[in-house]
């Protein structure tokens, strides 16, 4: 998960390298630290360093990390020959290495040799039962084969041991959403909010899931979490502001004829609408009219 500034930094570097302005190694390091998936760029720029003997030797011991990074990127781009070559180099340098063994197993996975890959991972796990990456590969393999229930099962088993892995909770939540198992997705986001209460992304996702579940209680809770997202993002999150408007409208539809929530809720909606209008005026003025008519159609019930 990256912040906006981190993403801007990576994009800037990427542009620079793409246009021949240098900084390839810096870019590759940043992509690795932020755990981004930009395999086509990594492959291209990584290979340009590795294929140049001068550049390669200037890396020193980092050369091997680059081989590893490029091997994985190559597998993601289905350039399996490149991956095989990188792994061969690493095998020569580090014979009997478990880390290289992992790459070999991943190559089997990339080829679609699921049974051999499974065998390889199982044997690697025997020697190293707490290797998180390998545990997660099993879930990834299930997902790649279209076995989503298997992927869920593996992820749940993984999370029983490694319950602090936020990325895994997010992945599980997203799988649940794709299967429309919204209650289970909500549970994942609840775990994430409990462990990282100041991360707005989780509040926002939780609110979206609750809204999708529907029903008066869920809508009211969703509204609270859109509000907390706005709080945590200094009012700058467009999705949360729109979420407030949607919730107020839908709650209004559901409570027509009953005691309305009162002035407090319409205040919140007005504030959100005003914030949106201000932002659009500044940054997307040609879309302002469209926003206004959207907001108008959402205010029908109040």
């Amino acid at each position: 998960m990256v912040s906006k500034t981190e993403e801007a930094q990576v994009n800037r570097l990427e542009n620079q390298v793409d246009n021949g302005g240098g900084g390839a190694w810096e870019y590759l390091c940043l992509v690795r630290t932020l755990k981004l998936r930009r395999s086509d760029k990594v492959l291209k720029h990584g290979l340009s360093i590795l294929n140049d003997p001068k550049k390669r030797s200037s890396l020193g011991p980092d050369e091997w990390t680059l081989y590893e990074q490029v091997a994985i990127a190559a597998m993601d781009c289905q350039c399996l020959d490149v991956a095989k070559d990188c792994i061969k180099v690493l095998q020569k340098r580090f014979p009997d290495s478990k880390r290289v063994g992992k790459l070999e197993a991943m190559l089997l996975e990339a080829k679609g040799s699921w049974v051999e890959a499974e065998k390889a991972y199982t044997s690697l796990l025997e020697d190293n039962p707490l290797d998180q990456v390998i545990h997660k590969r099993r879930s990834a393999m299930a997902k790649a084969q279209g076995n989503t229930s298997g992927a869920i099962e593996w992820l749940n088993k993984y999370l029983e041991i490694f319950m602090a892995d936020h990325d895994a909770w997010r992945e599980l939540a997203e799988i649940y959403v794709s299967l429309q198992m919204y209650k289970q997705a909500a549970f994942c986001y609840e775990e994430l909010i409990l462990s990282q209460p100041t991360t707005p992304l989780y509040h926002l996702a939780y609110a979206d899931v609750l809204y999708t579940l529907g029903g008066l209680e869920n809508l009211q809770t969703a509204k609270k979490y859109y509000a907390s997202t706005i709080d945590l993002t200094g009012g700058k999150n467009t999705r949360a502001l729109l979420g407030i408007c949607l919730c107020t409208f839908s709650i209004g539809e559901l409570t027509k004829g009953r005691n309305k929530e009162g002035k407090e809720s319409s205040d919140l909606q007005c504030l959100a609408a005003a914030a949106l209008e201000k932002d659009y005026k500044q940054r997307a003025p040609t879309k302002l009219a469209l926003l206004n008519s959207t907001l108008k159609s959402l205010k029908l019930s109040s």
Binding site: G146, E174, S178, Q180, T212, L242, T286, K287, T294
Partner: protein, 216 residues
């Protein structure tokens, strides 16, 4: 006694949606199809004239979809176009099934127009595109039948979807090789940064096509 319903997609709409799927190769993407029904009773045709790329993340969530549909309805109504369908590309390369999320969104679109078209990306056809001379779109067409379920329209039926401009796939291959998919902005991108939106792209796509046309 009427003619059988045809589906026709314009080059601009077609290329934009394929490029959208190529920009986000590692996730499912979707979008809405705009156009109109014409031809009366004798030669009815659903003309798809534009497409709006919507999302590339958490497609099963309602709030962004609801906002998008409100805005799209409003904007295209002013241009005399209606929502006539929905497109979807699955996350995995070898997944040729129309999943439940896609079907549910399709059901929602069906409320706009009973002849709604759901287009699912055919990855194998897309991969084979540069090598062949196929003029048909690299999509599968689904329509809703009387049993209220989405059925794949077979290649033998005349209600297949065709591309209006016969050389569309050639233009598409050209755009793909020049990396034009990087310029696609979808609704997700807009919600993340409202200063990004689609219209500049429409112009640049069309303009590029004009230049290549005149330089042949």
């Amino acid at each position: 006694m009427g003619g059988e319903l045809r589906y026709e997609i314009g080059q601009n709409a077609y290329i934009k949606l394929i490029l959208h799927t190529l920009k986000h190769k590692t996730s499912a993407v979707n979008g809405v199809l705009l156009g109109r029904v014409s031809g009366g009773d004798t030669k009815p045709v659903v003309e798809i004239t534009d497409s709006v790329p919507l999302f590339h993340s958490q497609i099963g969530l309602l709030p962004p979809l609801e906002i998008a549909l409100v805005q799209i309805e409003e904007y295209y109504d002013q241009q005399g176009l209606n929502i006539v369908g929905y497109y979807h590309a699955n996350e995995r390369f070898d997944d040729f099934e129309l999943g439940t999320v896609a079907k549910n969104i399709g059901d929602h679109i069906y409320r706009y127009i009973p002849q709604a078209a759901v287009l699912l990306l055919d990855n194998k056809k897309l991969e084979a595109l540069p090598k062949g001379k196929d003029r048909s779109p690299v999509m599968q067409l689904y329509t809703r039948d009387v049993s209220r379920s989405w059925k794949l329209v077979g290649s033998d039926g005349s209600s297949q979807v065709t591309i209006k401009e016969p050389s569309a796939n050639i233009v598409l291959v050209d755009y793909i090789s020049s990396g034009k998919w990087q310029d696609i902005i979808d609704f997700d991108d807009h919600l993340d940064d409202i200063s990004k939106y689609e219209h500049k792209l429409l112009f640049s796509l069309f303009f590029h096509h004009l230049i290549t046309y005149f330089c042949e």
